[in-house]
């Protein structure tokens, strides 16, 4: 356990070395919220506004999840760089078991996401409303599950290729599919309606429903805005996503660091 904590400390210290990157990312997220969402609030039809209170309130939890995703995914970039430059040989020489090494990196990636996301979540609370204490604990727990799953997804992607270009392409593909096929930018009901009309293919609709980013954003909305209604499915999706990618990434990372 101590070794895992050391690894978390190592990765968190690395994270804060990227001050410029963090400043840039946060300003982009705030630009999305304070400019794009404000303008869209005046553009969204009254029928949709009835469902979501206002686009600004609707989007604030979405941008929190976007920030969480981008920062938790960053660990993959470092892992990919370590694999390419074979720095993992040094890691293997440390008095840490393979499992601790893999699990520590995973948790660190998740915690980075939580640290980065905190000011965005606080901004959401200030603008949209504060949850009760049990709701706050549920939100933090759910977002931690999401962050750890994203960290796992990122590490699994990073170790599956030694080419940085392929990693960047795969990352872009994952980003765009998960961001746009989710309820981050628009209510899930709209995607479902397009699915019923045959405009949106059913697999896309199912992906949007099961997407952990949809579950994370909708869970925050359900507590702060009361819409959509809270469902246990949201937690279930996050647990399943986290379990799958924590297991896959731990196994893949352990295998890759032992490879000659």
């Amino acid at each position: 356990m101590r070794a895992v904590l050391r690894l978390i400390e190592y990765d968190l210290k690395n994270f804060f070395r990227y001050k410029w990157w963090l400043a840039g990312l946060i300003s982009m997220n705030l630009a999305d919220l304070l400019i794009m969402a404000v303008v869209y609030s005046h553009m969204v039809s009254p029928e949709i506004t009835e469902q979501i209170r206002s686009y600004f309130s609707f989007f604030a939890p979405g941008v929190t999840v976007v920030g969480l995703f981008a920062s938790a995914f960053m660990i993959g970039r470092e892992v990919n760089m370590e694999v390419r430059r074979q720095i993992h040989h040094y890691m293997l020489s440390l008095p840490i078991t393979r499992f601790e090494l893999a699990f520590g990196r995973l948790l660190a990636g998740g915690l980075r996401g939580m640290v980065y996301m905190s000011p965005l979540l606080l901004t959401t609370f200030i603008f949209v409303g504060f949850p009760t204490f049990p709701q706050l604990l549920t939100i933090l727990g759910a977002l931690f599950l999401l962050a750890t799953g994203i960290s796992g997804l990122s590490i699994a992607t990073a170790v599956s290729t030694t080419s940085f270009e392929k990693f960047v392409t795969a990352r872009g593909l994952v980003y765009y599919i998960l961001f746009f096929c989710s309820s981050i930018f628009y209510p899930l009901s709209l995607i479902q309606t397009l699915g019923q009309e045959g405009i949106m293919p059913q697999p896309i609709v199912i992906l949007a429903e099961l997407n952990p980013l949809s579950s994370g954003a909708d869970l925050i909305r359900s507590f702060l805005m009361g819409t959509p209604a809270f469902e246990l499915n949201m937690i279930r999706n996050l647990v399943v996503f986290s379990l799958i990618f924590v297991t896959t990434a731990t196994y893949a990372y352990m295998k890759i660091v032992e490879r000659r």
Binding site: W21, G24, M28, M43, V44, S45, V168, Y176, F179, L194
Partner: protein, 259 residues
């Protein structure tokens, strides 16, 4: 003139090496159109709903043109890292020719990259008036050159890859969101008077208006009279950044200090 063409040709060849960037932008365009554009058009007020999908696609074309024109700045850092700058300085080409050639090269290669995207966009939107479209595309060349010049100016001023990357990310976030690429000016005005003023004098707004005008989406144009107002705006933008770029490039190119 021949030397200038050599610089342009070199930048065009360099761009084709960035296959990942080209694939990524292609995926981004597809995701923006097939998901965000389609779904957001169902979300907006009725007065805008019938036209919003086409309106948004035109905006995405201009966003893609902007982001691919910016990419030339990243090339400068690659060259500094690999010591190519010293080689370029040793060539029998003046500094002015080098920077103007690079701005043009950056603009032309963005156009080559955006070409297929423009074709897809026009297939979806339809083509109302080919003459208007030609005028608009010609003016958009100036926009691409201007953005390349702006990217070179910022890269050479900062001389730090990390800072450039972040600053361009922030500039991109602000310049695109405070423009009419995603929403008409009247809605920006309703949201905030300050946003509306910035949006009205934003080169990305000029470019979006021109492309929409060229493609026949004439409702919700910001500039008046069209196309003159937007073209004048783009000409000013182009000359400002080309002149500033030439001056700064000449002064800052030598002496190292790249990080």
């Amino acid at each position: 003139m021949r030397k200038l063409l050599f610089v342009v040709e070199r930048d065009l060849r360099t761009f084709l090496q960035f296959k990942v960037l080209i694939i990524m932008r292609g995926i981004w365009f597809a995701a923006q159109v097939a998901f965000f554009g389609l779904i957001a058009s169902r979300m907006v007020v009725p007065e805008l709903a019938d036209i919003y999908f086409e309106y948004y696609i035109a905006g995405v074309v201009v966003m893609t043109l902007y982001s691919s024109s910016v990419f030339i700045g990243y090339d400068l850092f690659e060259e500094a890292e690999h010591g190519v700058f010293e080689y370029l300085l040793s060539l029998p080409i003046s500094r002015k020719e080098l920077v103007v050639g690079r701005s043009i090269g950056g603009g032309v290669r963005s156009f080559i990259f955006v070409g297929p995207i423009i074709a897809i966009a026009l297939y979806v939107i339809g083509l109302a008036n080919p003459v208007n479209l030609l005028i608009a595309l010609s003016a958009l060349f100036l926009f691409a050159f201007g953005v390349s010049g702006m990217s070179i100016t910022i890269a050479v001023s900062l001389k730090s890859g990390d800072r450039f990357d972040i600053l361009m990310g922030v500039v991109n976030a602000l310049i695109v969101r405070l423009s009419t690429t995603m929403y008409p000016q009247s809605f920006v005005q309703r949201a905030s008077g300050t946003y509306a003023i910035i949006s009205q004098f934003n080169p990305v707004t000029f470019a979006s208006d021109l492309f929409r005008w060229g493609a026949g989406i004439e409702r919700y144009l910001t500039m008046n009279p069209m196309p003159l107002a937007a073209i004048v705006g783009l000409v000013i933008f182009f000359f400002t950044f080309t002149l500033i770029g030439v001056t700064i490039y000449e002064r800052r190119l030598e002496g190292g200090g790249w990080q």
